[in-house]
């Protein structure tokens, strides 16, 4: 006892404080990185954002002509519409499946089957986005041409299906957590009144877990908005206000990925791409923040 105390007392001053300092530094690294991301992206785009860029044109014009010689236009409206339309369509596909699967896995499933399904969903989440893009480019492209008799299958629908498959795992896992967080006493009370499983789900669990389910949908949407490679390869990549699921679109993310390699540093076009980055950062930051507040909301209620 004595020896131990002596040893630890002798060690404490320097090594202990040094290591604690290091741990604290690592602890706040996420804050540093989030600010760092904003700072460095902002730094590259700031010059043109405050001095030269017509913000009204940027947000409302559909003319994206950054390489035109005598009529340069930086209208990102079509790109914003592209991003949101492909995301909304993807959510229309992913939300019913995601919530349905979450309900099945958490309420209707035997424990063994649940483990299997969760592993498969995890594997689905692991497939890289460039591979989804490749599937969109090959398999889904042919399928859409065959099914809809379309001239080309690289459309908003194609991108949405890929995004839906990518965001379903997130929706399932967060929605399942939300359903699990509902206390068992709720279920038992409803079952004691003679409710069937479905009645428990529909009348008790869905209302009780609605905040968590909303957060699941929001985080799925945030993932879709930020996705790059899949939409770059699968949506046809042409600046266009979509008129239906079979039109071509281009998204904010895909524009950066496709054009950043071809611009000179410090160029107006280069800076506009960073401004698009700021816009994307802000959108996903706000969506994530709302989702977090919604989740925290349920924690305080229960």
């Amino acid at each position: 006892m004595n020896i131990l105390r002596k040893k630890s007392a002798a060690n404490l001053p320097f090594s202990e404080t040094a290591i604690e300092l290091f741990i604290r530094l690592c602890g706040i690294s996420s804050i540093i990185f989030v600010f760092g991301i904003f700072f460095f992206v902002f730094r590259e785009g700031a010059g043109f954002l405050f001095n030269g860029l017509d913000l009204g044109q940027f947000l409302t014009s559909v003319e994206w002509q950054p390489t035109s010689l005598n009529n340069k236009r930086y209208g990102a409206f079509a790109l914003i519409v592209g991003t949101f339309s492909v995301t909304i369509l993807a959510m229309c596909i992913a939300v019913p499946f995601g919530l349905g699967a979450a309900i099945f896995v958490s309420e209707f499933c035997s424990p063994k089957l649940r483990e299997t399904f969760k592993i498969i969903i995890e594997l689905l989440a692991a497939i890289p986005s460039v591979v989804w893009g490749f599937i969109g480019l090959t398999l889904m492209n042919q399928l859409i041409i065959a099914v809809f008799n379309a001239p080309i299958g690289l459309t908003m629908l194609n991108g949405s299906i890929m995004l839906a498959l990518m965001s379903v795992p997130i929706i399932v896992s967060i929605a399942e957590d939300a359903l699990k967080a509902v206390p068992d006493s709720y279920r038992e009370a409803a079952e004691a009144l003679g409710a069937t499983r479905w009645q428990v789900v529909y009348r008790v669990l869905l209302p009780a877990a609605k905040n968590g389910l909303l957060a699941a949908v929001l985080l799925g949407a945030a993932r879709s908005i930020g996705e790059t490679m899949a939409v770059l390869m699968a949506t046809g990549h042409s600046v266009n206000i979509p008129s239906g699921p079979l039109s071509w679109i281009r998204t904010l993310t895909a524009t950066i990925a496709a054009e950043l390699g071809e611009v000179a540093r410090g160029d107006e076009h280069y800076q506009v791409l960073f401004i698009i980055g700021i816009l994307l950062f802000t959108i996903t930051f706000v969506v994530n923040l709302i989702a977090d507040l919604v989740i925290k909301g349920i924690r305080q209620d229960s």
């Binding site: 090594s15 209707f108 490749f134």
Partner: protein, 294 residues
């Protein structure tokens, strides 16, 4: 005995219909996974061989194998692991062992969530701004790996936090009562008891980093680079490299007349390695759960 009333019959029927409906919903998500893997394998079968893995792309990437991109991906993943594993593990130690309930901890947790939510292409812009230009690393394996490391940090933090939470509080209390300091407790008790859970997170980080394309596109990965076949040390970390994910993008969209089967083979190798690594992490996790003593 009891005869079924109209109401209970209807209840039973809806119950069954709903059960089957949700089962179909879940199965419909699993179908694409099998379908995609099957389709890729079927199309890739003519080119898949060990030689495919160990030869360089040839003939302007229209033929040949995957050696240079495959080795490049390994370099990127390993270097990023060296950065993100220590930072991520210690960040989780801080959040779980040191941080108290306060607004600052709340903000730290929020930052982790938001870091995970930043789009990959914004990470790429950050990598260009911070590492390639500001830090002067140029487009290099180092710059790309650092970008990947920051992007995958939340993966490690989340799974390490989970592993640390699984260590019972009584273990720590017993250790403190013996006079150990906080760090001694962490080093001798908390980390040894959660090391396998931490490892799961590290493996997941590997699989995540291996598949990313956007963050490395402008920070260090190139379309084509010729290296010696069979030499494991063919890349220098201050230079650029090829990468599997970017290679798949290039040969499926930028290069015309690629030999049929090669893009599929590349996709199979990429998906295969990512899923294999993931499966390893899942097996480890399941094994640990059965072995847990407390």
């Amino acid at each position: 005995m009891f005869t079924e009333t109209e109401i209970s019959k209807r209840k039973r029927q809806t119950e069954n219909v709903m059960r089957i409906f949700f089962l179909v919903m879940t199965s419909l998500m699993i179908l694409p996974l099998l379908l995609i893997i099957g389709y890729l394998l079927y199309k890739a079968l003519p080119v898949l061989s060990l030689e495919f893995l160990f030869t360089n792309p040839k003939d302007n990437m229209r033929a040949g194998g995957l050696w240079a991109p495959f080795l490049g991906t390994i370099y990127l993943v390993v270097v990023s692991l060296f950065v993100s594993a220590p930072i991520g593990i210690f960040a989780a130690v801080y959040l779980n062992e040191y941080a108290r309930e306060s607004w600052f901890t709340r903000i730290t947790n929020l930052a982790v969530v938001n870091l995970a939510g930043v789009p990959s292409i914004v990470h790429a812009l950050f990598g260009v701004g911070a590492f390639v230009l500001f830090a002067g690393l140029g487009e290099s394996i180092l710059a790309a790996s650092l970008t990947l490391a920051i992007m995958t940090l939340p993966v490690i933090i989340a799974s390490t936090t989970e592993a640390l939470k699984a260590v019972p509080m009584s273990f720590r209390e017993a250790c403190w009562n013996l006079g150990a300091t906080r760090w001694q407790t962490i080093r001798r008790i908390v980390i040894p008891n959660s090391i396998s859970g931490i490892l799961t997170g590290v493996i997941l980080q590997v699989s995540r980093a291996a598949g990313e394309t956007a963050p490395i596109m402008f920070t260090g990965a190139v379309f084509y680079k010729n290296i010696t076949e069979g030499n494991l040390f063919a890349y220098n970390i201050t230079e650029q490299c090829m990468a599997l994910s970017l290679h798949l993008f290039t040969i499926s969209t930028q290069v015309p007349d690629v030999t049929e089967g090669i893009p599929y083979g590349t996709a199979v190798v990429l998906v295969g390695s990512v899923l294999l690594v993931n499966a390893a992490s899942i097996v480890l996790r399941v094994y640990l759960r059965t072995r847990k003593k407390w």
